[in-house]
């Protein structure tokens, strides 16, 4: 009897060795031995009756041992085959990961919008609202109210596009200041971004460009506030460690007026090609709001004072991203638009 057990054991081992290449054939093989009705080990159990009673316990124990051993063997076999199958599946799905990607492109905001948003972010945090004025303005709002009457030489600083004797294309976003100051009482903190126009068209000038005007009107606003605010702004835009330098300038609507330079963020002020060796780059004009401008808007200049600054967005963006020609910003060349992704 034990011989038969030994034979079955050997048959299982041979079967696993020779006929169990796949999980399906292994299952078939298992059935041959372990199927409860037809399996060879099951058959042995049925023969129990024909065994002499004194040997029955011993035989039963041996058959059970065989059964457990076989079950274990087939579990191991199945696991091995499962692993092999998974491996084959993986191999069959091998790809060349260096082939190009698929999927839709993501576009970009225009570099000017990107820059504009960054500036708005910085100044929003300081409590500035955003006011967008009209591109077509009257002579009064663009010039006269800004302390630039008709015969003023400062009008020559900007060549203006006229639409009628009264209407023109705004040459500066400062025009928007007046509308705000006329309609709102201090405290005022506004940022006025928008397109402005000057009759200039050459390699470095575009007849349309974008400015962002900032205005604060409140009690006791000083030049020190202007300096502090602009220092904060350049640190946020050009990085910690950058600072500003103020120097005298002239704008009809501010007094004192200053030109603001930022320490060169390329060389840290040592002097390089970007800053033409000076360590400083001119970025904006600013000043303390002229008393006449406040008075023109019905704000008492003895009670309130203000500061104003005007930033050229193209210039800021060109400096930040190293764009070398202002015209590129208005040509909509996808090769340009794809590059600036600082949304």
């Amino acid at each position: 009897m034990n011989d038969r057990l030994t034979t079955i054991r050997q048959e299982i081992l041979d079967g696993i060795e020779q006929h169990a290449g796949t999980r399906a054939s292994a299952f078939e093989l298992r059935k041959q031995f372990l199927d409860s009705k037809t399996g060879k080990i099951g058959q042995l159990m049925k023969e129990m009756k024909s065994i002499a009673p004194e040997e029955r316990a011993g035989f039963g124990k041996s058959v059970n041992e065989l059964k457990e051993w076989a079950q274990q063997k087939f579990v191991e076999l199945d696991e091995k085959l499962k692993a092999r199958e998974l491996e084959r599946r993986y191999e069959s799905e091998k790809i060349d990961v260096t082939m190009p990607e698929k999927g839709t492109e993501t576009g970009n905001l225009h570099p000017i919008t990107q820059m504009r948003n960054q500036l708005i972010d910085v100044f929003s945090g300081m409590g500035f609202e955003v006011y967008e004025g009209t591109e077509i303005e009257t002579d009064y709002y663009n010039f006269t109210a800004l302390n630039t009457p008709k015969d003023h030489p400062a009008r020559d600083m900007q060549d203006t596009f006229y639409l009628s004797p009264e209407f023109l294309l705004r040459t500066q976003t400062s025009a928007g200041q007046i509308h705000v100051m006329e309609s709102k009482k201090p405290p005022i903190k506004i940022l006025s971004p928008g397109k402005v126009f000057r009759s200039d068209d050459d390699a470095t000038h575009s007849p349309m460009f974008t400015q962002m005007e900032g205005l604060v009107v409140d009690k006791k606003i000083t030049l020190c506030d202007l300096k502090g605010m602009l220092d904060m702004f350049v640190r946020k835009i050009y990085g910690e460690g950058t600072t500003t330098r103020l120097r005298p300038s002239y704008f009809p609507f501010t007094e004192p007026s200053v030109e603001v330079d930022v320490s060169c963020f390329e060389c840290g002020g040592r002097g390089c090609k970007l800053c033409k060796g000076t360590g400083w780059i001119e970025i904006l004009g600013a000043g303390i709001v002229n008393r006449k401008v406040l008075a023109n808007c019905g704000i008492d200049p003895d009670e309130y004072s203000g500061l104003a600054f005007g930033i050229g967005i193209e210039r800021t963006a060109m400096l930040k991203y190293g764009i070398n020609n202002i015209k590129l910003l208005f040509e909509s060349d996808l090769r340009v638009l794809r590059q600036i992704n600082d949304n």
């Binding site: 839709t104 492109e105 576009g107 970009n108 905001l109 225009h110 919008t113 708005i120 409590g127 500035f128 609202e129 955003v130 009209t134 591109e135 077509i136 015969d151 030489p153 400062a154 020559d156 600083m157 596009f161 006229y162 639409l163 009628s164 009264e166 209407f167 294309l169 405290p187 005022i188 903190k189 009759s199 007849p207 349309m208 604060v216 006791k220 606003i221 000083t222 030049l223 020190c224 506030d225 300096k227 330098r245 120097r247 005298p248 300038s249 002239y250 009809p252 004192p256 007026s257 303390i288 008393r291 004072s305 910003l329 208005f330 040509e331 909509s332 060349d333 996808l334 090769r335 638009l337």
Partner: protein, 806 residues
């Protein structure tokens, strides 16, 4: 403005380097655009004594032995006709740089470096130089104009650098002056600033002269247009002797590029440069009627100016006339008919103030800009007008070129040339700055700026010089103080006194940005185009003659015709952008622009026009079609929480059968479609393009919805697929409409297949939809959905004659 350092030193002691002075000027508001050494291209040229000079046989050359003191002794070959033993000449040593001249020995062709050479077998170690080769003209050094060697004075120290000797070590500052400081448009004006910023005394030039008792009998000046000429001063000078100006004057004129002409003319030019006051000198022989009249020109009146050009004038132009005819275009240029000649014996000097705006307009209208008009345009003050006349007369006396008569006529409108008294509070000055500048600093600064300050308590009393017309109130004083005290004294603050305010974008600005971001996420790139376009753009999109969009606002002074109209549609700019991209090889892409269109209420403009924020999308390339563009439109709608409806439409620039209007709640707000082939052809487009335009103003302001959550349905969604057969003319939208109206439980209707072909009749097509139903509070009954479908099919049959496909 060009300012020679040597001239500046006439009025103020300068003991710092030109570079240090540049920094000081910069810090006080005078930006030096360029700082150049007069002899920047000349180096290593020394005084040499020719000890021997022997002709080289059969040539025009001589071989010289030149003693250059401690630099050595050199053999130099020279071809100049005035080379002579015992004379001193400039020697360019080996390695020196000098100007290279053409064959005529006069025209400068560049800079060269002197090398050792051999001429006709003779070694030559250096070069003897002419004036031209050193960049020195006759006006700068006598003898320098000779076409040969520049003969140096006998006392020139052998071996010394020639640059100081010839004035080549001088520096020229090119300074830009802001519009508020016309008083700085002169050497003296700059000197005033230098004296203040360097804390040095200002040395004024002399204004003294002695008058003779010889009057110009009967001479009169009348100003008929005082509104354009508030002050006119005439002074008669007799016994004039026309000749050359002295070297010092010629040299100064030459340094700023002014050609010396004759003593009287040079004096007028010199005073213009020194004082900033344009001057004119008339030859009295040619003044008829013994009178000067300042009046507006008669319509069509003609005048030939000094440069020989004839101008036809207009009453807006101011002219200076004698008793009979115009003799000068006021503030711009003198007339040829009264020009100073060699024979001139009597002169009438003019110093006047003309209104800046009038001179600017005349100068612009006639296209004539002169040094005089440039000064007048920025503004000349009457104090300077008075002083300049005195200065000119002093120079006449100093140069000995005429006698100053007692005939002096000053016609004015009563404006004072005395200093104005101004009182300001020091506290207010400091309040503008935000720091406290020590009183003694304020006093020192204001004193250095010639304001004669007196401080009493908080009250600062200033005597504002008449030339400082820009000084109005305490902020002006604050600016004077801080630009001299130094902006680096400011202590950065962060609005410590100001009220807290809420910042950030408003709702509509946020929604616009959200829309832009949604479009970017769909692969579109934002572009920005000019707000103006061309009349030809209206033709490009084939706008009908009567179309309202042709009613564009014209720019009166456009850069060119292409940029002469304010946009009434963004479509042409977008088409242009697509065409440009294709020309550069970008054959596919997605672009969008958010910009304004300008719709006038009436023309010419009497009121602000309607500036409408508008969205334009342009897509092009093989992968794009009407529906990809519609996808972008839907993205826009979703971003703004609105629903768009589409209906076929005809637009002149769009494909007649691939174009749709876009409506929102029944209001038409735009259109989209394929660019018409004739437009595409005109633009040479290589791939199909699709374009959309939408009134964003309306979208952003009319339908302002909040983001909101709809609770999830309690019961699962049930779907049915319906394949429907219908007449080809029936649109998908019509079918969807009928389905939607048939049942209130429909959640979604989605077209998933369209079929035309053999399996259905020829004039029919099949559209297959998935319709999903969702129950409300109550669950559907067993046969609810089947009943819904039955009703849908019945409505479709009745309303559109649509059958279920069998």
């Amino acid at each position: 403005m060009l300012v020679p350092l040597s001239w500046l030193k006439e009025y103020v002691e300068i003991d710092i380097t030109p570079q240090e002075l540049e920094k000081k000027l910069f810090s006080c508001g005078l930006e030096v655009e360029e700082l150049t050494e007069v002899g920047k291209n000349i180096s290593n040229v020394a005084v040499g004594l020719v000890e021997s000079c022997d002709p080289i046989p059969d040539t025009h050359l001589s071989v010289c032995r030149v003693n250059v003191g401690d630099k050595g002794s050199f053999q130099i070959c020279c071809g100049a006709d005035n080379v002579k033993a015992g004379c001193k000449f400039p020697v360019a040593l080996v390695g020196a740089t000098v100007y290279m001249t053409a064959k005529d020995h006069k025209t400068v062709e560049g800079v060269m470096t002197i090398k050792k050479g051999k001429l006709r077998g003779y070694e030559s170690e250096g070069m003897l130089c002419s004036g031209v080769e050193l960049g020195v003209s006759e006006s700068m050094f006598p003898g320098a104009g000779y076409n040969g060697l520049l003969l140096l004075p006998d006392d020139a120290p052998i071996g010394a650098d020639v640059k100081p000797l010839l004035g080549l070590d001088d520096w020229i500052f090119d300074i830009s002056i802001t519009a508020n400081r016309p008083d700085c448009q002169s050497i003296l004006g700059i000197a005033r600033e230098v004296a203040a910023v360097c804390d040095r005394e200002l040395k004024m030039p002399s204004f003294k002269y002695t008058e003779t008792q010889t009057p110009k009998e009967g001479f009169s000046v009348t100003v008929e247009a005082p509104e354009l000429c508030p002050r006119y001063i005439g002074h008669y000078v007799h016994d004039v002797k026309i000749g050359e100006s002295p070297l010092w004057m010629k040299r100064r004129l030459a340094l700023v590029g002014q050609e010396p002409i004759s003593n009287i003319v040079d004096i007028t030019n010199y005073v213009l440069l020194e004082m900033g006051q344009p001057m004119h000198a008339f030859d009295c022989d040619y003044l008829e009627g013994n009178a000067i009249r300042v009046r507006r020109a008669a319509e069509g009146e003609k005048l030939v100016t000094l440069d020989g050009q004839e101008y036809v004038l207009h009453p807006d132009n101011l002219v200076i006339c004698d008793g009979v005819k115009p003799v000068a275009l006021a503030g711009v240029m003198g007339g040829l008919n009264s020009e100073i000649r060699d024979t001139t014996a009597e002169v009438m000097f003019e110093a006047a103030k003309f209104m800046r705006d009038n001179i600017r307009k005349t100068s612009r209208a006639l296209g004539k800009r002169t040094d005089a008009s440039a000064r007048y345009e920025k503004g000349v003050d009457e104090y300077t007008t008075v002083q300049a006349m005195k200065r000119a007369l002093h120079l006449v006396e100093e140069l000995g070129c005429g006698k100053i008569s007692c005939t002096h006529v000053d016609v004015n409108t009563g404006n004072s040339v005395e200093p104005r008294t101004m009182q300001v509070s020091v506290a207010k000055v400091n309040d503008v700055l935000g720091i406290r500048v020590p009183d003694e600093e304020i006093l020192k600064i204001m004193k250095n700026l010639q304001f004669s300050p007196v401080l009493s308590g908080d009250e600062l009393t200033l005597q504002v010089p008449a030339y400082r017309e820009d000084m109005e109130s305490y902020p002006d004083v604050a600016e004077e103080v801080i630009r001299m005290y130094g902006y680096d004294h400011l202590i950065p603050a962060f609005l410590p006194e100001a009220k807290v305010t809420m910042g950030g974008l408003n709702r509509s600005q946020k929604r616009e940005l959200k829309l832009k971001r949604a479009l970017c996420a769909s692969g579109a790139y934002e572009c920005i185009h000019y707000s103006f376009f061309s009349p030809s753009d209206l033709e490009l999109i084939r706008l009908p003659q009567e179309d309202a969009l042709r009613n564009a606002i014209r720019i009166l002074n456009p850069i060119n015709e292409e940029l002469s109209l304010m946009r009434t549609t963004l479509v042409p700019s977008m088409l242009g952008a697509i065409a440009r991209n294709q020309k550069k090889g970008n054959l596919e892409g997605r672009l969008f622009e958010v910009g304004r269109i300008f719709l006038p209420r009436e023309l010419p403009l009497k009121d602000y026009p309607d500036e409408r924020e508008t969205l334009c999308i342009g897509i092009f390339g093989e992968q794009e079609n009407f529906f990809t563009l519609k996808g972008l439109a839907q993205k826009a709608a979703q971003a703004l929480f609105v629903t768009f409806d589409y209906a076929p439409v005809k637009k002149t620039f769009l494909h007649p059968y691939q174009a749709a209007s876009i409506s929102c709640e029944g209001k038409e707000i735009g259109c989209l479609g394929k660019v018409a082939y004739e437009v595409a052809e005109e633009l040479d487009l290589r791939t199909d393009a699709y374009i959309l335009e939408l009134d964003l103003e309306m979208l952003l302001t009319s339908w302002d919805r909040e983001a909101a959550f709809t609770p999830l349905p309690k019961f699962p969604v049930e779907s049915r697929d319906l394949a429907l057969v219908m007449d080809k003319k029936i649109s998908c939208g019509e079918v969807e409409d009928v389905i939607r109206r048939s049942c209130s439980h429909i959640q979604d209707i989605r077209l998933f297949d369209v079929y035309e072909g053999g399996q259905i009749p020829e004039d029919k097509r099949s559209m297959a939809f998935t319709v999903s139903f969702v129950a409300g509070e109550e669950a559907f009954e067993q046969d609810s959905v089947d009943r819904f479908v039955k009703k849908i099919l019945k409505n479709l049959k009745n309303q559109l004659d649509i059958e279920l496909r069998s």
